[in-house]
Every structure is written in C-alpha cells, then in structure tokens.
Symmetry: C2
Subunit: 155 residues, 2 copies
DNA sequence: TATTGTTATACTCTATAACTATA
DNA sequence: TATAGTTATAGAGTATAACAATA
C-alpha cells in the first residue's frame, strides 16, 4: 500500500542513531541531575584543572553567558569551585571538588552502561570494527575527540 | 600537559557524527529554502499521498500545530496542496504538486551528494560494512526506517 | 582600550490550551 | 461528545548587548 521509502544511507543512519544515543544518554545522566553539556563541563574541568570560564566556553563551543549559569549551578551544589587567579584577577579558575570528582566517577559508570546497552546487538568483534570505522569518519571530519558539536546550538 | 581524555566509545562517536551529519545536511537543504523537518514532510507526503495532517504529525512525531505552520509555508510556495476530504470534511488531504515532486528530486540529489561527501574517507567496501552494522543497530533500537527522532524536540 | 565574568534584555521557539467546523 | 485543523498564548530557551572589574 505505502509507496517505498528509499533505503537510508550511512549519513542518515548516523543522524538517526546519533539522536537516539544522545537522547538515551541525556535520560541516564538526568538521574544525576545533570544535562549533557554539564557533563561535558565536568569532564573538561577534570582534564584541565584551573582553566578559565572563557577557555571552557571556547573548548566546548558554548556561550560564556551560558557557562556562568551552569557554573553557578554546579558551584551551588558543591561540585565545582571558582578561584580568582592570582596572575590575572579577572579570571575564575575552575576546579572540581572532591564531591565533583566522585560524581564524575558515577558519570563514567553511567557512560559505560550506556555504551554497553546501546551496542547490545553487536558482539565484541563487530563493535571493534564499528568503532574503528567511526573513528576514521570523525578524523576525516576534523571532530575534536571528546567534544561533540551539539553543545553549540542546533538549528 | 593536558590530562588524558578517555577514549570515546561507539555511543559517543555516534552522537558526534550524528550531529555533524545532521548539521551538514541542514546546511545543504537550506540552499533549497527547506529545513530537515520540511524535507521529512515532503518525503512522507510523496510516500503516502492524500494523508491527513494528523497522520503526518503522528508519523513524524511532530506537533499538529507545527504541521499547520509548515504546510502553510509549503502550500504558499506551490509545493503542496490541501484538499478537503469528501469522506470526512474535517481532514485535509495532502499531496505534492508537480513542482513539489520536482523539488523532491533535487532533495534526493542533495542527499546523495551529502552521503558521498560525508563518507568520502571510506572506500565502497568499508561503507557497505558500516551501513550493515548501523542497520543492525537501528533495528535493535526499533527506529523507524526513514524517520529520525530529531523531529521531536531535543532536550 | 581590551578582556573576564556577569547581568539584563530582546527574540525565537515550543508546547499547551482554546476555538471552529465537522462528525 | 469527540476529532481535524487552526489560532492564540504563556513559558522556556538562546543570543545579543550592556555593564563592572581588571588588565
């Protein structure tokens, strides 16, 4: 009855699966009262302790004014600290508190569970081959390891 | 200097590449003055001529009130027609005009170019293996062929 | 004068709920 | 009373620009 839908190519399958993966991950971290951009911030602060809000905004492709709001929240929850730099008193150096580091451990566990569930249909060998092909694509598109473009606004 | 970023898994690579693919496709179709949801509508109308706006909204996971706005636009541009159903005068049957069908051909060409460019880094054999693995994943997640979840709001 | 962080504001977008016409 | 389509509206979210402190 229904006319045929043309077979989806790789690019379309990637948008489908990418949205699905992002949505499911967002659901999981919402159990920790976090959004994916906040998770990205915590990871970035852990990787570069003491970085400024401007640098953070630049690295993640977020608006500085947005960073303020998120850091307000994370600081109020005792996960992150702002410290005035002694070298340039304009900048706030960001670091994780011990509690923040513990939460990051939980995030890593959530991410591992997410990965395992999402790839459930593939065996270890297939998963490795898929990973390798996807890495080739990300490299060819110049995508930053560990940072996805979605922290910038999607239109 | 920078602490190590843990290697990204398949799920994260998919969100990265999915966002990238969606963004690039959106850029391409914007040259035709269309958004990705509108492209989805045109494809759905072509596959199910005469369907109602409610059905269209349901199939694409869009709000009916949003469909109104989009159809207003597409109808105003002579791409789609609304016809009152003779069996139930409440419903508007949607069909593509000849111009709409021609635009859909252009969309298909754009999508093909998008596919080719996006997968440029892979040879035909790798592309086929990737496609097969991605299809397995979409099936395992119960994703509808040809419809991506992004027409629903992303939060 | 330029830059960091912050705040305020204007703007867009979304979802929800009313409204009409048909059933 | 219920449904298809439409319109109006309130709420959320985003980007831009103004601002104070510091360089």
């Amino acid at each position: 009855m229904a006319a045929e839908i043309p077979k989806a190519g790789v690019a379309f399958l990637l948008t489908q699966l990418g949205t699905q993966a992002a949505t499911k991950f967002a659901e999981r971290v919402s159990a920790l009262d976090l959004t994916p951009p906040q998770v990205g911030m915590l990871r970035m602060i852990a990787a570069h302790p003491g970085l400024s809000q401007q640098t953070l905004a630049g690295n993640l492709g977020m608006l500085p004014s947005k960073v303020v709001t998120f850091v307000d929240d994370l600081e109020g929850r005792g996960l992150v600290t702002r410290t005035r730099s002694t070298r340039d008193r304009r900048v706030h150096e960001l670091t994780l508190t011990e509690e923040g580091a513990e939460l990051l451990d939980k995030i890593r566990a959530v991410a591992a569970a997410h990965e395992a569930d999402f790839c459930e249909a593939l065996d270890a060998d297939e998963r490795a081959r898929l990973q390798s092909l996807l890495e080739r694509l990300t490299e060819s598109h110049g995508l930053t390891p560990g940072v996805h473009p979605g922290y910038r606004t999607i239109r």
